[in-house]
């Protein structure tokens, strides 16, 4: 580690690699339940079937909520139709969207608003000819080191936007306007090596 105030990138990664959770000791859950019960904070004993733990739902996929509206797809379609306002030239930048410590998942009622919000942002990029591609990524990142799969306590990226910008300054400005930041997410910006 350098003797400086800020963490180095390697330090950040090392800290990020520390486990975020720990094993819950046997009996701890029952002790907490009992302590709640003795304080009158829990109702009577319920049967396991009283609260269905899983259910099947029909819902708008998060892909639509965050990256839908044909965002990245829109750019492809728009270029093909010649409707972009600028030629699609210039260096590429990859924006990776992460949940971040304060990321707020959209509830079902908010999902339409999220679609509109992200869609408006991406739509501006698309119309400017700057949106090259975008996809939602599924959960379940697998991290490999050498021949070993290691635990990844931090969530992987939720999706990406591949954009064109004049330089890193413009790319960062675009990222700063991404709705993901307003919802507590993180966005990384990185130039694609030409």
């Amino acid at each position: 580690m350098k003797d400086e105030d800020e963490l180095t990138e390697a330090e950040r990664r090392a800290l990020d690699a520390l486990p975020a959770e720990t094993r819950v000791p046997a009996g701890f859950e029952d002790r907490v339940v009992e302590s709640l019960r003795t304080r009158g904070l829990l109702g009577g004993t319920t049967q396991p079937s009283a609260s269905p733990p899983r259910r099947r739902v029909l819902r708008l996929g998060l892909a639509a909520g965050l990256f839908g509206s044909g965002l990245g797809a829109g750019s492809v379609a728009a270029r093909r139709q010649g409707t972009t306002s600028q030629p699609d030239v210039g260096p590429l930048y990859l924006l990776l969207l992460y949940p971040g410590p304060r990321f707020v998942e959209g509830r079902a009622a908010d999902e339409a608003a999220r679609v509109a919000e992200y869609g408006a942002w991406a739509g501006r990029l698309r119309r400017a000819g700057q949106l090259v591609g975008a996809e939602k990524l599924k959960e379940g990142t697998r991290v490999l080191e050498g021949d070993t799969r290691v635990d990844s306590p931090e969530p992987g990226p939720q999706g990406y936007f591949l954009i064109r910008a004049q330089d890193m300054t413009e790319a960062e400005a675009i990222a700063r306007d991404c709705p993901h930041l307003r919802h507590g997410g993180r966005v990384s910006v990185q130039a694609v090596e030409a």
Binding site: D5, A14, P19, T22, L36, V57, G61, G74
Partner: protein
């Protein structure tokens, strides 16, 4: 990206509606619990969040697993008492962590300057990553920090709080939080022998 897929996404919103089997979301469980005080939704919430709450408590309390259990238990009791007030303006996990931080702050203050540092946490890694030795060194070094340093370091560098949030939560000045973090990082680097903390990449 495949153009065919693009067309599909653009033209058919219905295609993105899909049936999934899902665990109830936090807000559903909270509402179910608040409405009924039933045990089942509480247990589901407990199982979902306690592993992270315990880890946070253990780190804030220097690896004292027993004290962390007590702190998390107390945090759940306080949180359950106030669950009807929770409006989901933040993530439930974040809100719950606040109760753990508060309780740990009280514990640390009651201990004064004589806080014991144990190795219980580092002796039981749960994840068993391939680079366990390096992770344990780092974890041990974090746990070995003085209480004030460690609390700020854990909240800022591991949990992601801002200095403003730390100041509010720990009831200290924001400037104190910044200086504690600076000193914590320096102490941590010294504890690790001045060697860079780097990722082992199994290079040859």
């Amino acid at each position: 990206m495949q153009p065919s897929r693009a067309r599909s996404s653009l033209s058919s919103g219905e295609a993105r509606l899909k049936e999934e089997e899902v665990e109830p979301a936090d807000d559903e469980l909270v509402r179910a619990f608040v409405a009924s005080r039933a045990e089942e939704p509480f247990r589901l919430l407990f199982r979902r969040h306690t592993p992270a709450l315990l880890r946070l408590g253990q780190r804030l309390l220097g690896g004292d697993a027993a004290a962390a259990e007590d702190a998390v238990q107390e945090a759940w009791i306080r949180a359950v008492t106030r669950l009807p007030e929770f409006r989901f303006e933040s993530m439930l996990r974040t809100w719950l962590c606040g109760f753990v931080v508060n309780r740990c702050r009280e514990v640390l203050r009651s201990r004064g300057a004589t806080a014991p540092v144990t190795a219980e946490l580092v002796s039981e890694p749960t994840a068993a990553p391939a680079d366990t030795a390096r992770a344990l060194d780092l974890e041990r070094a974090v746990l070995g920090l003085a209480d004030g340093y460690r609390a700020v370091f854990v909240l800022h560098d591991l949990v992601g709080y801002t200095h403003h949030e730390i100041a509010e939560r720990l009831e200290i000045q924001e400037g104190t939080s910044k200086s504690q973090l600076f000193l914590a990082r320096r102490a941590l680097r010294q504890r690790l022998g001045g060697r860079p903390v780097r990722e082992d990449r199994h290079e040859g």
